[in-house]
Symmetry: C2
Subunit: 633 residues, 2 copies
């Protein structure tokens, strides 16, 4: 195929690409960061450029105004190279060097426009740079390793480069065999950047990072393409360690009997399978995944790294390490590029993990003037309160119910999961992910259903089924269950919520509410002092905030102050993957956050017991419910 030179002004960057390459791709190859957010789907209209001369093939677009078209503007993602080109990039199209573009993150930023900080600098933890080195002569006689490093510095501005002996050993022959044109894969390792590997040819566009949230109940992997900064795909599964117990403590005890390595193998296996699914579905080579960036709770990351966990469950609950160094992912058995790196987001405490550090980064809690709160609901609930001057965090043992675990028909938020439940025309309605026959509930569906059952008096404030209220309630050996869909009527199987399920959910929400309340009490604050409350977690869908208040999971704040923000653990980790500056900031957040141990608190049991009702023993804490709702008998 013919090749063409594209010169981008005003940056004066040039790149050679084959016929048919989009201008957006060409710009990416030239290391130009465009403020595109749709990853080339032609829907965001942000990649406008002007073709000054040369031949292109143009797709139509409704996103350009008549004036723009007359001014010669095109959408770079819909414009394809057919000859040598001179292209001008308008200033507003350039994202500059300080932006992280990711579909998720972008959607998220729209949710909380209050954060005014500049976006983090684009400086991915791993990157690939194509090097065309000058051939050595008597006058250009620097050694091979220094020749490579000098060129990398010139191309990237990175001065703290290190190149290991293993690569130096094969360097002289490798450079000469490939005529001094090679791709260097670079990885940030704390204070320096490692030349991780050298490959022949130009692989600069082929670079992916797997961003992982290692939850106690679910494991989620997002595949991020580094050059475009887009999330290519995502995949989740239940954590296979569940066979050793649903709770962290049970797994620590299991590891004491069977060895940490046993639990390590389980989680490594899960991540490998998720990555394999993603690469197969997206035609990506494992060798082009150059890093894995992991968030997760402290115990899970200890299992992942094979670190001793036994002190975490014994007073005074001391972890082995909060901030492990990046190292070779292959050493842990992760199957990506053999030289690829594994990065861990740092943790705040033994029971307040990297997921919360990532969550603080993603929500920008640490940059706010006013006081905000983040509640991250996982198998452990983690709560942080504060602003730019102080941050206080604690944890509460919730169990997996709110993620669809320890619920008879619970499932991950994927095709077939009931994600919403409501009432229309007096009849109970539900929505299934993928609009297929249902096979279970994800967390958001469970919360909705309990709120609806409470509203309709099918369960009482203690969560017990009331006999004779609804024909869909069946009693077996004195314990009720509510059947929402039946196999006989087209569901994949009978889908129902049991008395045990409801009790598990109440326990979970009571733990969170009690922890929230105690933390505020200690700081002499009440709920009204919270300007914004972020709810994070793997519920599945965007949960119904009103329903979350109704069951007492969230405090009774105006809905405008409550934001469901999804999986902030993944989002924070993704920001860090694409920006070393953000990665560094995670370490600052870790150091400045104070960890309160609530388990040792005298009033915890008391507060927990009070919260074991729907929404709470003390209904005065929920004034909006008594105003607007019919009283439940």
């Amino acid at each position: 195929m013919a090749s063409h030179t594209v010169i981008f002004s005003p940056l004066n960057k040039a790149v050679v690409v084959p016929t048919g390459t989009s201008l957006l791709e060409a710009a990416g190859k030239a290391d130009i960061v465009i403020g595109s957010v749709c990853a080339g789907d032609g829907i965001c209209g942000r990649c406008k450029m002007v073709v000054k001369h040369g031949k292109v093939h143009n797709g139509a677009s409704l996103l350009l105004t008549r004036e723009e078209i007359q001014g010669g503007l095109v959408l770079a993602c819909q414009t394809f190279v057919e000859g040598d080109l001179a292209v001008e990039i308008p200033e507003h199209t350039l994202a500059g060097e300080r932006v992280v573009v990711d579909e998720d993150a972008q959607r998220f930023r729209a949710l909380h426009p209050g954060i005014t900080r500049k976006p983090y600098a684009r400086s991915p933890l791993t990157q690939r740079v194509f090097l065309e080195l000058p051939t050595p002569t008597l006058d250009s006689n620097v050694a091979d390793a220094e020749r490579v490093m000098e060129m990398i510095t010139r191309r990237t501005g990175i001065t703290t480069l290190q190149i290991g002996l293993r690569i130096v050993r094969r360097l002289p022959d490798f450079l000469r065999t490939h005529e001094f044109a090679v791709t260097a894969t670079l990885g940030r390792r704390g204070t320096f950047t490692e030349v991780m590997d050298l490959d022949e040819g130009d692989l600069s566009a082929r670079n992916y990072i797997a961003v992982v949230d290692v939850g106690t109940t679910t494991v989620v992997v997002h595949l991020v393409k580094v050059v475009t900064m887009a999330t290519v795909d995502a995949q989740a599964c239940f954590n296979s360690q569940a066979v050793y117990g649903r709770e962290v403590t049970a797994r620590i005890m299991a590891s004491e009997k069977k060895g940490v390595a046993t639990l390590q193998e389980q989680i490594i296996g899960d991540i490998n399978r998720l990555i394999e699914t993603l690469v197969a579905r997206n035609n990506v080579h494992l060798k082009d995944i150059t890093a894995v960036v992991c968030a997760g709770n402290t115990a899970m990351l200890h299992f992942l790294l094979g670190l001793p966990v036994h002190n975490i469950r014994r007073k005074p609950y001391i972890a082995a390490s909060f901030a492990p160094l990046p190292f070779r992912a292959a050493e842990m058995g992760l199957r990506i590029n053999p030289r690829g790196l594994l990065y861990c987001v740092p943790a705040i405490g033994s029971w307040v993990g990297a997921d919360l550090t990532a969550g603080i980064l993603a929500t920008g809690l640490h940059e706010r003037e006013d006081v905000a709160m983040l509640i991250d609901v996982g198998t452990n609930g983690e709560i942080v309160l504060g602003n730019k001057d102080w941050l206080v965090a604690c944890s509460a043992s919730t169990g997996p119910a709110l993620e669809g675990g320890s619920v008879a028909c619970g499932m991950i938020a994927e095709k077939g999961a009931i994600e919403k439940v409501g009432v229309a025309d007096g009849r109970l309605q539900y929505k299934v992910i993928g609009d297929v026959p249902p096979k279970g509930f994800c967390g958001s569906g469970i919360i909705d259903l309990i709120a609806v059952l409470l509203d309709r008096g099918v369960i009482d404030r203690a969560g017990r089924f009331v006999e004779g209220r609804d024909p869909a309630v069946e009693f077996r050996q004195g314990r009720g269950r509510f059947v929402i869909a039946r196999k006989a009527e087209g569901a994949v199987k009978d889908v129902f919520l049991t008395q045990d399920d409801i009790e598990n959910v109440i326990t979970a929400k009571a733990a969170i509410f009690a922890a929230t309340k105690i933390m505020l009490d200690r700081l002499n604050l009440d709920f009204s002092g919270i300007s914004e409350l972020f709810l994070a977690g793997g519920f599945g869908s965007y949960i119904d905030r009103r329903n979350a208040i109704k069951i007492g999971l969230l405090p009774d704040l105006p809905l405008s102050r409550i934001k469901y923000v999804g999986n902030t653990s993944i989002w924070g980790a993704k920001l860090a993957a694409l920006s070393s500056e953000a990665f560094e900031e995670l370490h600052e957040i870790r150091k400045k956050t104070t960890y309160y141990d609530l388990l040792g608190s005298d009033d915890y049991v008391n507060q927990f017991r009070q919260a074991m009702f729907l929404p709470h023993t003390n209904i005065e804490l929920f004034p909006s419910l008594t105003e607007s709702q019919p009283t439940v008998e």
Copy 2:
């Protein structure tokens, strides 16, 4: 044995030591750097302190004045603890944080007082710190790894700490078994400091660095005690690679046939044997040697690291790496602490090695206002000329004759080597190292003998033996040799200098002189423009400068401008071992020195031929010789 607390003011540092410890040792254990230069032998008089109260045992000293004794001053190295003490350290005794005290380096600095820069900061590449960590509680709940690093930062000020997963894995149990009192061994690795290892108890005083000069002909190891910064002992041997050739080029060719690993094993074996000798003689544990710091020419360091060398001998002579990273010494087969690090001094060019970079650092050439020259005579002669603004270096192939190699009765400068030759009462006299019967010559003895033979007309200006001049000259198959000592008269064996030996020396000195001359010519300078000429090399003894001029090894400068400075490769490496600041400066020197390739120079062969006489074809270059010397017939 009883223990006593010694409190040092005004630093307010305290240390607990057993009865009989000297105050100097106690100060060392308290991390106080004293400006002592005799390493506790009681001869430098620089460790003055005042015992404010408490019981001590005092050695007498002539180094204190009556006023000082009346003022309560004692020499810390001659004063021994017998009870709890309060000791005041006068300001002039404190070396502060910016001094490198080493017997060699100190002696050397006395040789060239012209260097005015402040001494390098004391910051050894590896150090041991005894940590007494606070026991974890609910309120002090930081993880084990961060607990260790925070304490190291508090004790050393080092903030860029990294601790590897292997250590973190055993950390929780290790800390608890040893009640949170452990010694951390730290190693600088470029941009960060690694927590290399943890040991039980207080090993802070037990830390040694082996400083190595890997020469083509000789290998020298100095054992440096880090706390006192004294060179404990030194040992040298011939490089075992000599079986593959005396010259670098021959060894590169051998490595192409037999593999680099073969030559690597030889040099690693030499260094291991030298270190074993040193530790045995000084009762040091191998585990307490925490680093090896190597200088040497570029090819030798490539062999040491197993790097490909074949391009070094082929135009355009490109090395694999000039500045390899520090890494685990055990990976190369070096037997020191298994976690100990191997550091290499960076090289300037493929034929101007780390030995010269170290030499520039040691002589301070790069800091001078005026122009100076350093000639480092090894198997390759390396020459550098310049000042603080510019530095130009080149190399000349000399062969090993001047180090005692390729000389029939040549040997390393050790017991039994003739190190000086002169004439007294008309008779030839010599001095043997150790005052024992002679068994050979080291470099300085060879230079002296040739000069004496030339003076006495025993050899002519071409270096040929003149028949009938001296009965000690024997002719065998037409080739003369001068017998200086005979087995029959008490020598270990017949010790003699052959016609071949003389020719090898002439070739060596001609190569150096020619290179020196060409470099000056290219820069439009002549010898008179050199303010100071440093002669470095492993000749053995301090060589006779007049004799070096007589044979034409050195240019005819006033003796006051010529300084023999011994093994600057070792000295520079030692400065770097004890000061990370000096180690960094080596990298700056590497980058700022321009390398001239003289082998490609048209006039080299011509200049070399002219220098093949004693002292030179053009006697006008040596005016002082014709003035003061009787003309040789």
